[in-house]
Amino acid sequence: MALEIVQIDIMFALIFLALGLYCVLSKKNLVKMVIGLEIMAKGSTLAFIGMGGAAVQGYVIIAISIEAIVAAVALSIIVNVWKQSKSLDSSKMGKLRG
């Protein structure tokens, strides 16, 4: 039974989501966590394209640019964390713990 293109899209989207989730949950390095988040976001974008066809182009482009903004903000925070503590290990960042 040949797979339809939609099913392939969704399958890859799920794989991306799972990979990204694993990365975010298990990695301690902040940069790696951001990469994980980005992979998850790409998964959801892919699912969006697969389900919506040509009509969602505009939304997808907006979504991608917002992801880029989010990544930029996250990375700038990470740069500041690096300047403060000379470390990127998230488990060592308990200073502001409430």
């Binding site: 975010v24 949950l25 990695k27 902040l30 488990s91 960042m93 308990g94 502001l96 713990r97 409430g98």
Partner: protein
């Protein structure tokens, strides 16, 4: 009907909020001009409300109904339902508001932050009007919070005084506990009926179409809501502390209007809840016990404003008690509310004039003001007599109705509670009057008589304290026309009412007994003071009978619990993310179970 009702309603909703925005912009005018412009604006707000009064209170009048879209996409509309209950509280809010603003022109002269003061008073008047005229419980809650916010901001008006800031926060937090009860009650009613409309809920409730469990739960939640706002035991301790506010604010918000919001919401919902088992009994005891304990605290209080605050708590207890008499009690409680709003505003404003002039709130440091402030003394005497319920003054007539109601229903223990309270009321009224005006001053001082504008306001209120009860005819007709007074209620024509009250000898006897005992208590004070029980009462009464300690203990318990729970917060990014994922899974499962997915 000179002007179209819809126009009047629109004006009375829109004007106060527009003025709330306008007043701060007038700062450039200077303080004096600002104050007088505010008087003008407050008068403009009061005009439409008072123009609507005769339209509602003519016999056989229909309620005025209107509807404005608010958030159409959420199906929320500002439904207006004006009946005698609503328009009368709106009239008190705007009428006393106008008098207080007029009084403030002199009283608040030279204070910092006057634009903020006048703007907040405008916002308060507007929110109070909207709170009572709307038919939608969600919107009631919305404005319920706005009046709470105004109360907070005005208590802490003197932002540089840490005591005032603390008192504001205390008032805000304490009333918030009641508010949680109210919002739970509203949502439970929505769950049971599918509507926020008060009138629809009342119709369903009277037809018995609401699940009894929901209805009784909501009824008691509404009582908790009223407990916070109307300062009933055990949530009353914020009101005496709120006396850090300027006295004008105490008169308007903490005596005449906002504290009546709780009474209002109970009276409004009474037709729906009155059949709930134990609802009226709970109100009887809540009101009776609050009235009694607050009166005891008033009797030992050395601070003039705090004494008046305790007395307000006590009188609010009377109103809650009157609601406990069933549907016919709605009229009685609102009648007492009317009289109380006027004479208590008078007492507070007199106290303000005295404090303004003497510069202390401690009554033992005042003494002997009768020579220096003869006019104020005369006016305050009217207020004190009305508070004590001396015949002819307004407090007598409504208290007599409360006693008569309890007597007719043979509620002996509650009746004893309120009669003892009446006795204590007489005693503390006398104590207040004699401590302030009689005796000899302890040291040299320069005290001036109350200035003209303030005396004018006091004079108007003093006339009200003598004459407000005479509105009984119009008032009772309006209430019984709208089914707010119960089937057994008979409309009071003025002459008949006087005749009926004075010939009901048992009740008049009870009242006179209370007055006599109270006066006796005052004259025998020195011999009564020395024994151990009185010493204990004086010592712990001045500490508020430990309610503040109770609040502190609760706060401490919450704090300890929070410190323990804090260990859950590891600060580890991976752990936090796992929490997010678990929450999403739970939501997914919930949606799946409900068949959404």
């Amino acid at each position: 009907m000179l002007i179209d009702d819809t126009l009047l309603i629109t004006l009375m909703i829109v004007l106060p909020f527009a003025f709330f925005g306008l007043v701060p912009l007038l700062k450039k005018l200077g303080d004096k001009a600002l104050a007088w412009v505010s008087v003008l604006l407050a008068a403009l707000v009061a005009v439409p409300v008072f123009l609507l009064l005769p339209d509602i209170y003519t016999s056989g009048a229909a309620p005025i109904v209107a509807s404005y879209d608010w958030v159409p996409s959420a199906g929320l509309s500002f439904d207006v339902f004006i009946d005698p209950l609503a328009i009368f509280i709106a009239a008190i809010a705007s009428g006393i508001g106008l008098l207080v603003v007029l009084y403030s022109t002199k009283y608040m002269e030279g204070e910092k932050g006057l634009p903020r003061y006048y703007a907040l008073i405008m916002l308060f008047i507007g929110a109070m009007i909207c709170l009572v005229i709307t038919d939608n419980l969600l919107i009631v809650y919305f404005f319920w919070e706005i009046v709470g916010l105004c109360s907070y901001a005005l208590i802490s008006f003197n932002v540089e005084d840490p005591k005032a800031a603390k008192a504001g926060i205390k008032a805000f937090v304490t009333t918030r506990i009641g508010d949680i009860g109210l919002i739970i009650g509203i949502f439970v009613l929505y769950l049971a009926t599918g509507t926020f409309s008060v009138q629809e809920i009342i119709a369903l409730g009277q037809a018995g179409d609401i699940n009894v469990n929901y209805l009784s739960f909501a009824g008691f939640m509404f009582i908790i809501g009223a407990m916070g706002k109307s300062a009933q035991m055990p949530l009353h301790a914020w009101l005496p502390d709120a006396m850090e506010a300027p006295t004008t604010v105490s008169a308007l918000i903490h005596a005449a209007t906002m504290v009546n919001a709780g009474i209002y919401i109970l009276a409004r919902m009474a037709p729906a809840f009155v059949a709930v088992d134990g609802w009226t009994t709970a109100l009887l005891y809540l009101g009776g016990i609050t009235a009694l304990i607050a009166a005891i605290m008033a009797i030992v209080e050395p601070d003039l404003k705090r004494l008046l605050a305790y007395s307000t708590v006590s009188q609010l207890g009377y109103m809650v008690f009157a609601l406990g008499l069933g549907l016919s009690g709605v009229f009685i409680s609102q009648y007492h509310l009317l009289n109380h709003a006027i004479f208590k505003a008078l007492l507070f404003l007199c106290a303000g004039a005295i404090i303004h002039s003497v510069g202390t709130r401690n009554m033992y440091e005042m003494r002997g003001l009768k020579k220096e402030m003869p006019k104020t003394r005369f006016l305050m005497l009217f207020g004190a007599l009305a508070l004590a319920g001396i015949p002819i003054f307004s407090g007598f007539w409504s208290k007599d109705l409360i006693f008569a109601g309890a007597y007719e229903q043979e509620l002996w223990i509650p009746l004893i509670l309120v009669v003892v309270t009446a006795m204590l009321t007489v005693a503390y009224s006398l104590r207040m009057y004699f401590l302030v005006f009689e005796g000899e001053p302890k040291k040299e001082r320069h005290v001036h008589e109350t200035p003209g504008v303030m005396l004018l306001v006091l004079g108007i209120l003093a006339v009200g304290a003598i004459a407000s009860w005479a509105a009984v005819e119009m008032f009772s007709m309006g209430f019984s026309d709208f089914g707010l007074a119960g089937a057994d209620f008979h409309t009071h024509y003025l002459g008949e009412f006087v005749n009926h009250t004075l010939t009901n000898l048992t009740v008049v006897g009870i009242t006179l007994l209370g007055i006599g005992a109270g006066a006796g208590l005052w004259y025998g004070r020195n011999s009564l003071k020395s024994n151990k029980v009185s010493q204990w009462v004086i010592k712990y009464g001045r500490m508020g009978f430990g309610f503040d300690k109770l609040y502190d203990d609760v706060a401490l318990g919450v704090k300890k619990l929070s410190i323990r729970l804090r260990k859950l917060q590891t600060g580890d990014a991976n752990m936090n993310f796992i929490g997010v994922v678990i929450l999403m899974l739970v939501l997914f499962v919930m949606l799946f179970m409900q068949g959404v997915l």
